[in-house]
C-alpha cells in the first residue's frame, strides 16, 4: 500500500468516525427534544446499534453478490448523504428512528467493507502496523466530532449540525472514488466466495471462549449504560451541547495513547490483569456517575469509561485470538468486539 492509499482510506474512516462520534453524545438529547422519553431514547439507540451490526454482517453478502468493495463503500456513502441531511429535518421521533437506523446500517456496511478493503491492500507483514495507525481514526474522529458538533448546535441548532455533517460525509465517497486499486491486490470473486464459505464453518466455542464472550457482553453493556447515562444526566442538569460533546473529546484524547499501550501492557502483564484493571476503571466511573454534578466530574467519568471500553475491546480481541487456536479468528473477534 502506498501513502496515497493510506491517506484516502484513513480519510474515509475518519469521516465515518467523526460523524458517528460527533453525533452520538447529542443524539439522546436531540431525540428528547423531539418528545421522546428516556425509555424511547434507549430503545432508539439500541435499535440503531442493531442496524449497525446488521449492516456490518450484510457487507459480506453484498460483496458475494458481485459488488466490489470500492463500489459498495461509494454507494453506501452516497446513500448516507441524504439520510444525514434528513435526520436534521425529522420533526418527530417516528421519523428520527428510521432515518438514523438506515444511516447506521449503511455506516456498518461501509465500515466493514472499508476494513476488509484496507486489509486486502496491505501486505501481511505490515498489517499490524497499518491497523494500529488506522485505529487512530476512532479517537481522532471523537475529538474532531466532539469539538465541532457541540458549538455548532449551541450557536445555530441541530439542522445546521446535520447540514454540516452532510458536507463532511461528502468526503467519504469522494475519498474512495479517488482510490486507485491495482487489480492484483483485490481478491477474485472465487476467492471471496471461498473465504465466505470458510468463515461460515461452525464455530468451535470452548468454555473459556464462552466465559470471555459473556464477560465482554457484560463489559460493553455497562459501558453503553454509562455513555447514555452521561448524555441524559448532563441534559437533565442543563449542560450545553458543547459541554456534552466535550466528554467525547476527553475520551478521544485518552484513547490515543491507550490504544497503543493496552496491547503491549497485556502482553507484558497478562490479559487477565489488564482486563481487571480496565473493569475497575469502569466500576469507579459508574460509581461516580449518579453523583456527578460539575463538568469536571463528567470528564473524569468519560475518561474512566473510555479506558474501560478501549481496554476491554483491545484485550478481548487479543485474548479471543489466544484462546481460539487460530480457528475462525475473524468471526470470534467480531463476536468479542
Amino acid at each position: 500500500m502506498n501513502k496515497l492509499h493510506f491517506i484516502l482510506l484513513f480519510l474515509c474512516s475518519l469521516v465515518i468516525w467523526t460523524t458517528g462520534n460527533g453525533l452520538l453524545p447529542l443524539l439522546p438529547v436531540y431525540a428528547k427534544s423531539l418528545g421522546a422519553n428516556d425509555f424511547m431514547v434507549g430503545a432508539y439507540l439500541a435499535f440503531s446499534y442493531l442496524c449497525l451490526a446488521v449492516g456490518g454482517v450484510s457487507s459480506s453478502y453484498f460483496v458475494g453478490q458481485q459488488v466490489s468493495r470500492k463500489r459498495l463503500i461509494i454507494y453506501a456513502g452516497l446513500t448516507c448523504l441524504p439520510l444525514t441531511w434528513a435526520v436534521g429535518y425529522a420533526d418527530s421521533i417516528e421519523l428520527l428512528i428510521p432515518f438514523t437506523s438506515l444511516l447506521w446500517f449503511f455506516g456498518g456496511v461501509a465500515f466493514s467493507a472499508l476494513n476488509t478493503l484496507a486489509s486486502e491492500l496491505t501486505a501481511p507483514s505490515s498489517r499490524g502496523a497499518f491497523f494500529s495507525l488506522f485505529a487512530m481514526a476512532s479517537p481522532l474522529g471523537a475529538i474532531i466530532g466532539g469539538l465541532i458538533s457541540g458549538p455548532v448546535v449551541d450557536q445555530w441548532g441541530y439542522q445546521a449540525l446535520f447540514n454540516l455533517m452532510t458536507l463532511v460525509t461528502l468526503l467519504w465517497p469522494l475519498s474512495i472514488f479517488l482510490l486507485d486499486i491495482p487489480p492484483s491486490s483485490i481478491l477474485s470473486n472465487h476467492q471471496i466466495n471461498r473465504h465466505i464459505a470458510h468463515r461460515e464453518q461452525r464455530l468451535p466455542i470452548s468454555s473459556n471462549i464462552k466465559w470471555l464472550l459473556l464477560a465482554s457482553l457484560a463489559a460493553f453493556s455497562a459501558n453503553f449504560m454509562g455513555t447514555l447515562g452521561i448524555s441524559l444526566n448532563m441534559d437533565k442538569l442543563g449542560f450545553s451541547a458543547t459541554d456534552i460533546t466535550s466528554t467525547a473529546v476527553v475520551g478521544g484524547l485518552i484513547s490515543i495513547p491507550f490504544i497503543y499501550g493496552i496491547g503491549r501492557l497485556s502482553d507484558l502483564f497478562g490479559r487477565k490483569t489488564c482486563w481487571l484493571v480496565c473493569c475497575v476503571s469502569g466500576l469507579i466511573a459508574l460509581y461516580l456517575l449518579p453523583s456527578a454534578v460539575s463538568l469536571w466530574n463528567y470528564w473524569w467519568v468519560a475518561l474512566l469509561l473510555r479506558v474501560f471500553s478501549t481496554g476491554n475491546r483491545g484485550i478481548s480481541n487479543a485474548w479471543v485470538v489466544d484462546l481460539s487456536n487460530g480457528l475462525n479468528v475473524p468471526k470470534l473477534i467480531a463476536l468479542a468486539g
Binding site: N37, G42, A46, S207, N208, S221, G226, L283, D322
Partner: protein, 55 residues
C-alpha cells in the same frame, strides 16, 4: 442491551437503581473472566519465545 436497560431504568426505576445495575454488569465482567487461567497467555508467550529461540 445497555441502551435498552438504561432507557427503561431511567424511566421506571430512577437513576440510582439504573446505575447500580450498570455496576453489577461491570462486576459480572470481572467475575466471568475469573475461571480463565492466567497461565494460558503465559504459556503462549513461553511457546513463542521457544519458537524464536529454536528459529
Amino acid at each position: 442491551m445497555g441502551y435498552l436497560i438504561t432507557g427503561y431504568g431511567l424511566s421506571n426505576w430512577g437513576r440510582d437503581i439504573t446505575f447500580d445495575i450498570a455496576l453489577i454488569f461491570s462486576i459480572c465482567a470481572i467475575l466471568f473472566v475469573m475461571p480463565l487461567k492466567h497461565s494460558l497467555n503465559k504459556k503462549l508467550i513461553f511457546r513463542s519465545k521457544l519458537k524464536r529461540l529454536k528459529g
